[in-house]
């Protein structure tokens, strides 16, 4: 009888192809872990000479001199530049985008949907085009109509506005960065606000709340987690953003890159890499130094993201528990 062997054979074959499928999928899934491990290892390995040479001074130093024989590398000014531009961009961008999200989620669909679509479309614009627009159009208007008057009025009394505005400075870069994170943050915030159950709003209105009170009392507590997540997503974007910032920030190096005022030129970690990477010779310490900058940038971005994730999941957990009880 061929009945039994055939059945057995079939059983074996099914076992095989499905196992292959599962192995393939698992490999693809684990690929991301392997790549991350490789990236961290490679960056550390290739920047090893600079850590030997400069030690911890690499992070705190302010000198940046790639010239042969007088080499000295410190990334502190660039770390500062990244932190300042990102913080300013957040301060400008996040309230604006939550405002946009509030408006879009509350407006009648006829206005809300096209507006939401427009904002989402802005998210798809490549950063190099923001840079181009910032460099040729926005910078000129911003310098003439905003920075100059501020400088003329407050320049002598407040150190923040003391430098002569050129347009290629920290403030311009931050504002363009803010414009760039608005679509991301507001799109996510909009989804979050849309996800708040309708009953929540109706209950607030029923208690006689005004529109603002409704947002404050009924929407924000419910959507807080998601809104924080959206903001941190924007922060991650801002920290890693390269090209637009490189085109606008003025690209000072070394001690000059420590910003003296909002109108002074600066440099961020990603822009120094973009500016100097191709010219750096692999034989000197210049390339390891730039890779070291990449490592510092990466660890900052990853820390921000992990904190965001932990925060969001923990708060979500609490919220779900509260609803269940």
């Amino acid at each position: 009888m061929s009945h039994l062997p055939a059945k057995q054979q079939k059983g074996i074959r099914r076992f095989d192809s499905d196992k292959l499928f599962k192995i393939g999928a698992t490999i693809a899934g684990v690929y991301v872990l392997v790549i991350i491990a490789l990236i961290v290892f490679q960056l550390f390995f290739e920047s090893y000479p600079i850590w030997i040479e400069e030690g911890f001074g690499f992070v705190t130093g302010t000198d940046w001199n790639p010239v042969e024989g007088r080499e000295s590398f410190g990334v502190f000014p660039y770390i500062l530049g990244t932190l300042i531009t990102s913080a300013l961009a957040m301060a400008i961008g996040v309230p604006l985008s939550i405002g946009i999200a509030m408006f879009v989620s509350d407006a009648p669909p006829k206005i809300g949907n096209p507006l939401g679509f427009l904002v989402e479309l802005l998210a798809a614009v490549p950063s190099v085009i923001y840079g181009l627009w910032g460099l040729y159009v926005f910078r000129v208007y911003f310098r003439d109509y905003i920075e100059k008057p501020i400088h003329d009025t407050f320049g002598d009394s407040i150190w923040l506005f003391s430098d002569t505005p050129l347009g290629l400075d920290i403030l311009t870069a931050s504002v363009v960065l803010a414009i760039m994170i608005i679509p991301t943050v507001s799109a996510v915030s909009r989804e979050v606000l849309m996800a708040v159950p309708q009953q929540q709003r109706e209950a607030a209105y029923m208690l006689g709340a005004t529109k603002w009170e409704m947002f404050k009392l009924a929407m924000f507590p419910y959507a807080k987690t998601g809104l924080i997540g959206a903001a941190i997503l924007g922060l991650g974007r801002a920290v890693g953003e390269t090209i637009a910032v490189t085109m606008l920030i003025g690209n000072a190096t070394g001690i000059n890159a420590i910003p003296e005022s909002l109108f002074g030129p600066g440099q961020t970690m990603s822009s120094i890499i973009a500016n100097e990477f191709v010219e750096a010779s692999p034989a000197s310490l210049h390339l390891p130094a730039l890779i070291g900058v990449g490592l510092v940038l990466l660890s900052m971005a990853v820390c921000i993201n992990i904190v965001a994730h932990v925060l969001v999941t923990r708060m979500l957990h609490v919220r779900e528990g509260a609803i269940n009880s």
Partner: protein, 260 residues
């Protein structure tokens, strides 16, 4: 918008097909850049999409375990990696190894940006397929991979296509990782192992030049790039049309339904 007004003046057949002229002369065009963008996007899709889709299947179809949780978490973290760091990685792994800047390196760097996006959207859209579809497949005695590829994926097709197109639009505009991988060149395609131009890269280089003609060409290139990405985005809209206004929204709605 500003880009359209300034860019339209630069457009002509020569501009779209010629190689760049001498620096500052205002002649020539962005032909190699367009070609390069398309080639690099194509190759990185060939690398990135299968990995992303399989990884999404891994996350959605094989149940929850410690590994899937880990993979999902790091996938999300990886999505927010600064793209310039991925460029450095591709430079170290491929450019230094092979000894020259190449299309492979650029495509590899972009595929790294691409696959986590594809993986997450694939996972989310596979999870929207009702479990009964899979049960029906199992009842017919189909193998697991047949069920997944023939039934589940065809049911979730629009979500998958959306994710892929979104990631293509994203990498189409990436500049930072290309600086240190494909480097840029003013010639047409000359083999996968040589440097190549790309639109975002060309715009960046043009913006560094102090000539008005370079500025004009920059606007023209920007317009072309925006048009490409706009077309992709409209394609996305077309694919999700009639299903739901957008993927993330529908997922959140689904979750809320479950909670209520």
């Amino acid at each position: 918008m500003e880009v359209v007004r300034n860019g339209a003046a630069a457009l002509s057949i020569e501009f779209l097909t010629q190689t760049p002229g001498a620096i500052g002369s205002g002649e020539g065009g962005i032909g190699p850049a367009i070609q390069g963008t398309l080639i690099v996007i194509g190759i990185s899709s060939i690398i990135g999409v299968p990995i992303g889709v399989m990884s999404g299947i891994f996350l959605a179809e094989f149940g929850e375990s410690r590994i899937t949780k880990l993979v999902r978490f790091f996938n999300d973290v990886f999505m927010e990696f600064p793209s310039i760091v991925l460029g450095i990685f591709a430079f170290l792994v491929i450019v230094l190894l092979l000894g020259h800047f190449s299309i492979w390196a650029g495509a590899f760097a972009l595929s790294l940006i691409m696959f986590p996006i594809v993986a997450r959207t694939t996972e989310e859209s596979l999870k929207l397929v009702p479990i009964t579809y899979r049960e029906a497949g199992t009842a017919l005695g189909l193998k697991r991979w047949v069920i997944t590829f023939r039934i589940v994926i065809s049911a979730a097709k629009s979500g998958l296509v959306t994710g892929i197109l979104l990631s293509v639009a994203r990498i189409g505009g990436e500049t930072a990782p290309l600086i240190m991988t494909i480097l840029g060149s003013s010639q047409f395609f000359a083999g996968f192992n040589s440097p190549m131009d790309a639109l975002p890269l060309r715009i960046w280089r043009l913006s560094l030049l102090p000539y008005d003609s370079a500025q004009l060409q920059g606007w023209g290139a920007a317009l072309v790039l925006i048009l490409i990405i706009l077309v992709i985005n409209i394609a996305v809209r077309y694919f999700v049309l009639g299903k739901s206004s957008n993927l993330i929204g529908s997922i959140i709605k689904q979750r809320n339904l479950k909670r209520v």
